[in-house]
Amino acid sequence: MKCKKCKNPAIIFTNNSFLCKEHFNDYFEKKLKRLVKKHNLITKKDKLALAVSGGKDSLTLLFTISKLYPENEKIVININEGIEDYREHTIDVLKEFSKKLNIPYISVSFKEEFGKTLDQIVKKIDTYPCSICGVLRRYLLNKTARKLDCTKIATGHNLDDEAQSTLMNIFNSDIERLERMGFESGIVRGEKFVRRIKPLRFHTEKEIVTYFLSNNLKTSTKECPYSKKSFRLYVRTALYEYERKHPGTNKNIINFYDKFIITALQKKQKTNTKLNECQQCKEHTSTKICKVCELIKILGLKNGTN
């Protein structure tokens, strides 16, 4: 297979073209820059918090943002949930990589903030660990980024993640979560929310892994042990089956979201949504008590919100 542009050996077929390493990298980076520019996701004044777990998506984010936006001040924030025989492996990779790129690194753990690791928390519950982990992780990311005066938090969510999340929220009839999605998370802006951006939102998982491998980036190959229990895995497996038989399914779900759902939700948002302060921690919430405070109470965690 030859590259459409230069006839060198192709490494991937994507966007209806075979591309060699050089032209694929070019395509990958231009796609990121196009999204950032179109929606003004990063400005020269932004101090960026890069949310990096040490997996392939977030390491690719770290690599590309540091390469394409060298003028911006950046800091790597890692949230250590406390998952034994998993997270420590990716953290080792991340520390080394941040050092190599000369970007400051900070790690915040569930144990320090909430008194328990995720492993300890999930022993007591009978629900998907990912739903608890996600809420606590987003909270700590926001809190840490705000303390560090960051103006944006960049995450490594990709197109496949977003397509899965869209369907999961539809299956759960979770309008609130559905409306918080998009290349910039959340529609309502509040002074306590650091804006979350997703520069890799239009990149497929396959493109990210190809970019990752072709640029000789390395990480642990261990998968999160809780992912096997997740609703996401079920949706993900189903969507890859659709993708095999009907290529472009994930992209079409995102296009549908952007063209139809987001417009409808934005109209609703303008008329209906109020941003409250949580009665306990004073963070922004759409209800009286935020989800983090609810979880702290239910799970008997240390109150890290103070």
């Binding site: 075979f18 392939k56 998968e223 890859y240």
Partner: protein, 65 residues
């Protein structure tokens, strides 16, 4: 041909060259959408062909991170 998947190695016999996506689906029962492939140490599209002398290495797309 030799196929490396994570830490394991498999051997299958191909009487003629075949598309990698077909090898994945028919011989290995793997959805080609969830792997990236190196042939003889070089990244290749799954539409590429391999023969009995080829060495394939599969990289699973891991969720999260």
């Amino acid at each position: 041909m030799i196929i490396k998947i994570k830490d394991k190695t498999k051997r299958i016999h191909l009487s003629k060259s075949k598309k990698i996506s077909e090898i994945l689906e028919e011989n290995l029962k793997i959805n080609p959408e969830i792997v990236i492939v190196k042939k003889n140490g070089i990244l290749v599209p799954i539409q590429d062909k391999a023969d009995n002398n080829s060495k394939l290495e599969l990289f699973y797309i891991i969720s999260g991170g």
